[in-house]
């Protein structure tokens, strides 16, 4: 039972938050990198897979129904997925042994922490888009660097038995 990482994508397929937990021996799990590999290949591959699987999920069921992707298994990992109406995608990567539905936990992360520390924070941008060409126009970082958010979600995930 291990949580490997917690990732948030925004609706423009930017990885706006990526928290990795290192579970190696003699290592504090919280020493894993924060927002270090947001633009790495694995983030892009993950988004590609999510996108394809979401399309499959919505195509295969009778019309007028809404079908949401919940989780999927890749190799030794299980990837849990939940999407808000504003199309922020919340992802938890755990190992295969986590056999329970994490929808409620992902919703907690959104409703309790994301809303409180990111959405209701006046200093945090509404769109996590970064304009590189004209930095004066919109000087926002494309990542969540809010210390309180990081601290509180770390604390919450650590209390879970699957951490």
């Amino acid at each position: 039972m291990t949580i490997h990482s917690f990732i948030i994508f925004d609706r423009h397929c930017n990885c706006i938050y990526k928290r990795e937990y290192s579970h190696e021996l003699n290592n504090n799990p919280l020493s894993g990198p924060i927002n270090k590999n947001n633009d790495s290949n694995s983030s892009k591959l993950l988004f590609g897979i999510l996108y394809s699987l979401k399309t499959i999920a919505s195509k295969l069921i009778p019309e007028d129904n809404i079908n949401e992707l919940r989780s999927f298994n890749i190799g030794d990992f299980r990837i849990h997925f939940w999407e808000s109406l504003s199309r922020f995608k919340f992802i938890l990567i755990t190992n295969k042994e986590v056999n329970i539905d994490l929808q409620s936990i992902l919703f907690q992360l959104y409703s309790k922490y994301f809303i409180k520390y990111v959405v209701e924070n006046g200093l945090s941008p509404i769109e996590f888009k970064y304009y590189e060409k004209d930095p004066k126009e919109n000087e926002v970082s494309a990542k969540i660097n809010n210390g309180k958010f990081i601290e509180e979600t770390d604390k919450y995930l650590q209390t879970l038995s699957i951490f």
Partner: protein, 168 residues
């Protein structure tokens, strides 16, 4: 666990067999099924890349090593210990309305079943049992058919009949 549909993909990701066992899913056109098969094959390939890049431990073996282990097993014991060769790619998908399970043989053939959703995730055993039976039927009625050419669509009436029998 109710099985909605079965797909068999050849090693290149082409759809060679498709059978709707029971209704419950949207009726797709033949073309859409081909697209679905191709997408799943692609996601499987991307997934095995991704799972290798997320894993921090180095004990994860790559596909070639796994295949050679499988081959030496077959040579020394006379049979594969576990026919499922799907170790690093996409194995299952859970959604609100259906679950999808993926099984890959050593030769790269993929069996995919789409079933009704179930809350307990421990269903790999049930699905593996279905896959085992399907694989037996495939070996008996498709591989032993002298008129079947490899990687081409399966049109065997006997195979069809026995698959229907299996899910009755």
């Amino acid at each position: 666990m109710k099985v909605y549909s079965i797909l068999i993909l050849n090693k290149a990701g082409g759809l060679i067999y498709q059978n709707e066992i029971s209704s419950g899913l949207n009726k797709l056109s033949a073309n859409d099924y081909l697209v679905l098969a191709g997408t799943l094959h692609g996601v499987h390939a991307i997934g095995s890349k991704l799972s290798q890049s997320i894993s921090t431990t180095n004990n994860l073996k790559n596909t070639e090593e796994l295949n050679s282990i499988q081959n030496s097993n077959i040579l020394s014991f006379g049979k594969a210990l576990n026919p499922n060769n799907n170790k690093s790619g996409l194995q299952s998908i859970e959604t609100d309305f259906f679950n999808l399970y993926n099984f890959q043989t050593v030769s790269g053939l993929k069996f995919i079943i789409i079933t009704s959703p179930n809350d307990n995730f421990e269903n790999f055993e049930t699905s593996n049992e279905i896959f085992r039976k399907l694989y037996i039927l495939y070996s008996d009625y498709v591989m032993k058919d002298p008129f079947y050419s490899l990687d081409m669509p399966i049109k065997s009436i006997l195979f069809d009949k026995n698959v229907k029998e299996l899910f009755r």
